[in-house]
Amino acid sequence: MQVSLTVNGRTQTAEIESRTLLVHYLREHLNLTGTHVGCETSYCGACTVLVDGKAIKSCTMLAVQTEGAAITTIEGLANGELHPVQQGFVERHGLQCGFCTPGMIMSAVALLDENDSPSEDEIRHGIEGNLCRCTGYHNIVKSIEYAAATMRGDDPPASDWEDES
C-alpha cells in the first residue's frame, strides 16, 4: 500500500506492506531509530511519537493509519536548539540508559502542551504510560518541572545537588 505523511516537517511517500507498524516504518524505512520498541503491547511507551500533536504509541499503530498525518519524532524535536524538555532531562539527570527517554520526552512535551504548570502528582500521572527502569522517576519528575518552569519563563526549581561553579 502507499502511504503519504509528514515526518518532522518533511513529506514522505512510501510503498509499504499494509501490516507495517508505524514504529517499524519510522525506524526501518526512514532510519529514525530514536523511537524505540520496548514491549510491543502499548505499555512501556518507548515508542511514543506525536501524531498531529498527540502522544501516540507507534508500536500498535499501523503506518497506513497515519495517512496524511503530521508526525514528530524525537529527532524532530530540537529546532536549532534543544527543546526545553530535552534540556530539563540533561539538567536534572532525567535519564540513565536513555532507552525510554525519547518516548518519555515526547509524552512530557504533550503533557506540558496541555498543562503548563503541572503539580508533581499531575506529572507522575501524566507520564504513567511511559515506563523507566533506571531512574525510579524521581529525576524525570524534576526534569519535567525544570522544563515547565523554563517554558513559562520562570526560574527552574533548585537541583538536589550543589551545582558545579
Binding site: 530514536g34 510491543e40 505499555y43 525519547p102 525510579g136
Partner: protein, 778 residues
C-alpha cells in the same frame, strides 16, 4: 592544583545523543544484506520433542534457513562460568525443560517474515510432568531436568550450627522464626536484548553487536565456541538500554546468530520481543526459607539462622549457582553475631535465574532484616535500638561468614537516618494517625553490600571468565591517552548500561590532568579498542576500573610533568596542572598548555634525551579486598485496611558508598535501585502455574512501577572511605535495591501488627494484605 571536578554534579556527557534520539543501540544497527532471526520456543514446562517439521516454513518466500539442535550440537552447550548443574543446549535437544526454551531458529529477510516462519514450524511435543514449586522440587518427587540426578544441585552453608544450638539453650532466650518467600522476579530492562552478528569470511573476522554488560567476556565465549582467536572476534556493546544483571550472561542467541552469519555469509540480527524477554532472559531471586533469631529480652542477638531453598531454573548459565554465595558473603549484615546459614540450590522447570540487581545480597539481607524486625516486635523493643545493640563497632571486622570488612560506621549512619526522617516525630504521627483511624507504618532496614570485585586471587574460586575462554581475573584496567591536540581519550573495559561512565571517568582524568571534562572522551564497549576489562556488574566498575584509570592518569601526569619541566626549564617536582595546562609552582604566568605539551611529546626529538615519545599510559588494578558499602533505609506507608491497598508515603535512604565522584549520578543510581526493591515489595512477581506456564509474561501482567506508583525519595549520605582502592570509593549500583524491599515490608507489618498480622509475603498486593488483615476465609 587540579581541575577540582571530583564531587561535582557535572552534567552527563552521554546525554546529548540520547535525548535527541541519536544514541545507537544494537537494534538500531543496519548492515547491507542483513537477515533477521526469530526463535521457535517451547510452550511446555517440560516435554519430549517427538519431531520438528520445518517444511512449511522453509517454503515461505524470504526464509533463508531453519536450524534445529542437530545443526548446532557440535558447538556444545552454552558455556557457564560456574558450571554446576545441567548446561543449556544452544537449541533444545530431545527435550524442553522450561517454557520459552529455544527449539529452532528461523532466519529470513525481515523480522515480519521471520515471525511468519516461526508460526509455520510444526513441533510435535509429548508433555511431561513439570515441577516449579521449590519445596516440591527439593523433594525430588519429580526431576526437573533429567540431566541432574537430584534437583538439589548444590548447597551453600556457612557458620556454626553448634553456636545456634548453644544460643537456644541459653536461659531466657527468645526465639523468633519466620518462613518467608523472596519471590522470583523478571529484571525487565526496557531495551530487550538484541544481537547482530557479521562474519566476514575473507578476513576470517567475526563481529558481534550485542546489548551486553560484558563485551570482553562474550568475545572470549564466542572465541571458545567457534574456535576463533582473540584477534578474530570483536564484540561491540553500543548503547545498552539497561541491564540490571540480565545482560551479564553469554546467551545462546548470541552464539546462534553468530553461527547463522557464518553459515549464510550474511549479517544476522535478532531482537527479543518483550514476551521472549520474559522467558529467554534470566530471572532473579526466587527463594523460600525460614529465618530465625535467638536473642535476649534486652535485644542482644545470640544467633541467626537461615534455612532456605533458591530457585535455579532448568539450566545453569553464567553465575547461576554462585548467586546465593554472594548472599552468604553478607549473611550477618552489619551485625557481630554468630550465624548458621544454609541455602540449597534447586533446579525447576522455569527459566534460568542468575544475577539480578543485588544478586543474592538482597535476598540475604531481606531474610536477616525481616527476622530482626520480628524479633524486636516479639521482645517489645524499638527495632532501631535492637539493630544498634548488635552492630560491629570496630574495623576491620571479621564476620561470622568469614569475611573481612575493612571499614564501616554503622551507628552513625543509622543515627543520621533517624534524624533525617525525624523518627521520633514519625512515631508520634503514627499514633495520632491511628487515633484518627489511619493505619500508618514505619519500617527500617540496614544493609551491607559486598562489591568491587575483585581481588585477583578470587579467580581461583571462580571469579574470572576462565570457563568462557577468557582466563582474566576480575581486575580493572584503564588507558589514558593525551592526543596531539591536547584533548584526552580514555579507554576502559567496562560495559555500562546507563551508569554514566563517560562522565565519571572524564572527571577522574580531568582531576588528575587538569584537562577540561569536555575535552576528554571516554570509550568503552568495543573489545577491539578497549583494554582488557571484565564488564559492568556487582557495583564494581568505579572501584576497580575507575581506580585503574586513576592510576593510568597519574602515570600520564608524571610524564607530562617531566615534559613541561623540560619545556619551561624547571624541576618536574615544581610542575602543577590546572586550567588546561601546566605551570611552575609559584609562577602562575609561566605556563604551557596541554596542546603544547602534547606537540612536544609526539615529536621525540624535542624531548629530553632518553624519553620515549607519546603521551599515554595503561594501568591494571587488582584491589586488596572487595568493598563493603552499607546504609540504612526508612519507609513510611499507609495501609488501607478496608481495601488492603498500600501507599508508600515517604522513603528515606542513608547510603555510604565511600567517596563520591559525581553526586548526581550516585543519587540516580540510588533512586533506580530503590524503585526496583520497592517494586519487589509491592508489585512484581513472576508467577507460574503447576505446568510451568508463565502467567506474567508481558508488561500488562508483570507490573513494573509507573511514576504514579512511587513517591519522590529523600536521600542523604555518610562518607566512610575504603582504603582498598586509591580513590576510596565503594560502589552504589545495587545499594538501593539491597536496602529497600524489606524496609517497605517491615513498614507494612509495623502498620498492621496491632491487627494480629506477623508476616505477609511479597508482593504486597491489596488482596494479600486484605487477606492477612481479615483472614483468608473472611
Amino acid at each position: 592544583m587540579t581541575a577540582n571536578v571530583i564531587g561535582k554534579a557535572i552534567r552527563r556527557k552521554e546525554d546529548p545523543a540520547l535525548i535527541q534520539g541519536k544514541g545507537l543501540y544494537t537494534d538500531d544497527m543496519k548492515m547491507a544484506g542483513m537477515l533477521h532471526a526469530a526463535f521457535v520456543r517451547s510452550p511446555f514446562g517440560k516435554a519430549r520433542i517427538l519431531g520438528i517439521d520445518a517444511s512449511r516454513a522453509t517454503e515461505l518466500e524470504g526464509v533463508h534457513a531453519v536450524y534445529t539442535a542437530e545443526d548446532v550440537r557440535q558447538l556444545g552447550p552454552l558455556l557457564a562460568q560456574v558450571a554446576i548443574g545441567a548446561l543449556r543446549p544452544l537449541l533444545a535437544d530431545g527435550t524442553v525443560n522450561h517454557v520459552g526454551e529455544a527449539v529452532a531458529m528461523v532466519v529470513a529477510t525481515d523480522r515480519y517474515v521471520a515471525q511468519d516462519a516461526v508460526d509455520a514450524v510444526d513441533v510435535d511435543y509429548e508433555p511431561l510432568e513439570a515441577v516449579v514449586d521449590l519445596e516440591d522440587a527439593a523433594s525430588d518427587r519429580t526431576i526437573a531436568n533429567d540431566t541432574n540426578a537430584s534437583n538439589v544441585i548444590h548447597v551453600w552453608e556457612v557458620g556454626d550450627a553448634d553456636a545456634v544450638a548453644a544460643a537456644r539453650a541459653t536461659d531466657g532466650a527468645v526465639e523468633v522464626s519466620v518462613k518467608m518467600i523472596n519471590q522470583r522476579l523478571i529484571p525487565t530492562a526496557i531495551e530487550p536484548r538484541s544481537a547482530l552478528a557479521d562474519y566476514n569470511g575473507g578476513y576470517g573476522n567475526m563481529t558481534l553487536y550485542s546489548s551486553s554488560q560484558i563485551p570482553h567476556a562474550v568475545a572470549g565465549a564466542l572465541g571458545k565456541t567457534f574456535g576463533l582467536s582473540s584477534n578474530n572476534v570483536r564484540v561491540i556493546a553500543p548503547e545498552v538500554g539497561g541491564g540490571f544483571g540480565a545482560k551479564l550472561n553469554y546467551y545462546s542467541e548470541e552464539a546462534l546468530v553468530t553461527f547463522a552469519s557464518r553459515e549464510l555469509g550474511s549479517p544476522v540480527k535478532w531482537t527479543e520481543t518483550r514476551r521472549e524477554a520474559s522467558v529467554a532472559t534470566i530471572h532473579g531471586r526466587g527463594w523460600v526459607g525460614t529465618a530465625t533469631i535467638v536473642g535476649t529480652g534486652e535485644g542482644k542477638i545470640l544467633a541467626y539462622e537461615l534455612d532456605a531453598l533458591s530457585d535455579m531454573g532448568a539450566y545453569t548459565q553464567n553465575f547461576t549457582v554462585a548467586i546465593p554465595l554472594l548472599g552468604q558473603y553478607v549473611a550477618p549484615g552489619q551485625y557481630d553475631i554468630p550465624i548458621h546459614w544454609k541455602v540449597q540450590c534447586v533446579a525447576t522447570n522455569a527459566p534460568t535465574t542468575d544475577a539480578y540487581r543485588g544478586a543474592g545480597r538482597p535476598e540475604a539481607i531481606f531474610y536477616l532484616e525481616r527476622a530482626i524486625d520480628a524479633f524486636a516486635r516479639e521482645i517489645g523493643m524499638d527495632p532501631a535500638d535492637v539493630r544498634k545493640r548488635n552492630f560491629f563497632e570496630e574495623f576491620p571486622a571479621t564476620t561470622a561468614a568469614g569475611m573481612l570488612m575493612d571499614s564501616g560506621d554503622y551507628g552513625a549512619n543509622l543515627d543520621k537516618l533517624l534524624e533525617l526522617a525525624d523518627y521520633q516525630g514519625l512515631r508520634r504521627k503514627q499514633e495520632e494517625a491511628r487515633a484518627e483511624g489511619r493505619t500508618i507504618g514505619i519500617g527500617l532496614s540496614t544493609y551491607v553490600e559486598v562489591c568491587g570485585f575483585g581481588p585477583s586471587a578470587l579467580a581461583e574460586g571462580g571469579f574470572s571468565w576462565a570457563s568462557y575462554g577468557l582466563p582474566a581475573a576480575f581486575n580493572g584496567s584503564g588507558l589514558v591517552r593525551v592526543n596531539p591536540d591536547g584533548t584526552a581519550t580514555v579507554m576502559i573495559g567496562t560495559g555500562p548500561s546507563g551508569q554514566g561512565h563517560e562522565t565519571t571517568w572524564a572527571q577522574i582524568v580531568s582531576e588528575a590532568l587538569g584537562i577540561a571534562v569536555e575535552d576528554i572522551q571516554v570509550r568503552h564497549g568495543d573489545t577491539r579498542d578497549s583494554p582488557m576489562g571484565i564488564g559492568t556488574f556487582g557495583s564494581r566498575s568505579l572501584a576497580v576500573d575507575g581506580s585503574a584509570t586513576s592510576q593510568a592518569a597519574e602515570k600520564v601526569r608524571e610524564k607530562a610533568a617531566r615534559v613541561a619541566a623540560h619545556m619551561m626549564e624547571a624541576s618536574p617536582d615544581d610542575i602543577e596542572f590546572a586550567d588546561g595546562g601546566a605551570h611552575v609552582t609559584g609562577s602562575p604566568d609561566k605556563t604551557v598548555t596541554w596542546a603544547e605539551i602534547a606537540e612536544v611529546a609526539y615529536q621525540p626529538h624535542r624531548l629530553p634525551d632518553g624519553m620515549e615519545g607519546g603521551m599515554e599510559a595503561n594501568a591494571v588494578f587488582s584491589p586488596a579486598n572487595a568493598t563493603w558499602p552499607f546504609g540504612s533505609h526508612l519507609a513510611v506507608v499507609d495501609v488501607d485496611t478496608t481495601t488492603g491497598d498500600v501507599t508508600l508515603l515517604e522513603y528515606f535512604a542513608m547510603d555510604d558508598c565511600g567517596n563520591v565522584i559525581n553526586p548526581m549520578i550516585v543519587d540516580g543510581q540510588v533512586h533506580g535501585g530503590l524503585a526496583q526493591g520497592i517494586s519487589q515489595a509491592l508489585f512484581e512477581h513472576a508467577i507460574f502455574d503447576e505446568d510451568g506456564n508463565l502467567l506474567t509474561g508481558s508488561l500488562l501482567d508483570y507490573p513494573i512501577p509507573t511514576a504514579g506508583d512511587l513517591p519522590s525519595f529523600t536521600l542523604d549520605r555518610t562518607t566512610t572511605p575504603t582504603d582498598v582502592n586509591p580513590m576510596g570509593v565503594k560502589g552504589i549500583g545495587e545499594a538501593g535495591t539491597i536496602g529497600s524491599a524489606q524496609t517497605v515490608l517491615n513498614a507494612v507489618i509495623d502498620a498492621v501488627a496491632h491487627l494480629g498480622v506477623t508476616h505477609i509475603d511479597m508482593p504486597l498486593r491489596p488482596k494479600r494484605v486484605w487477606q492477612a488483615i481479615h483472614g483468608n476465609g473472611a
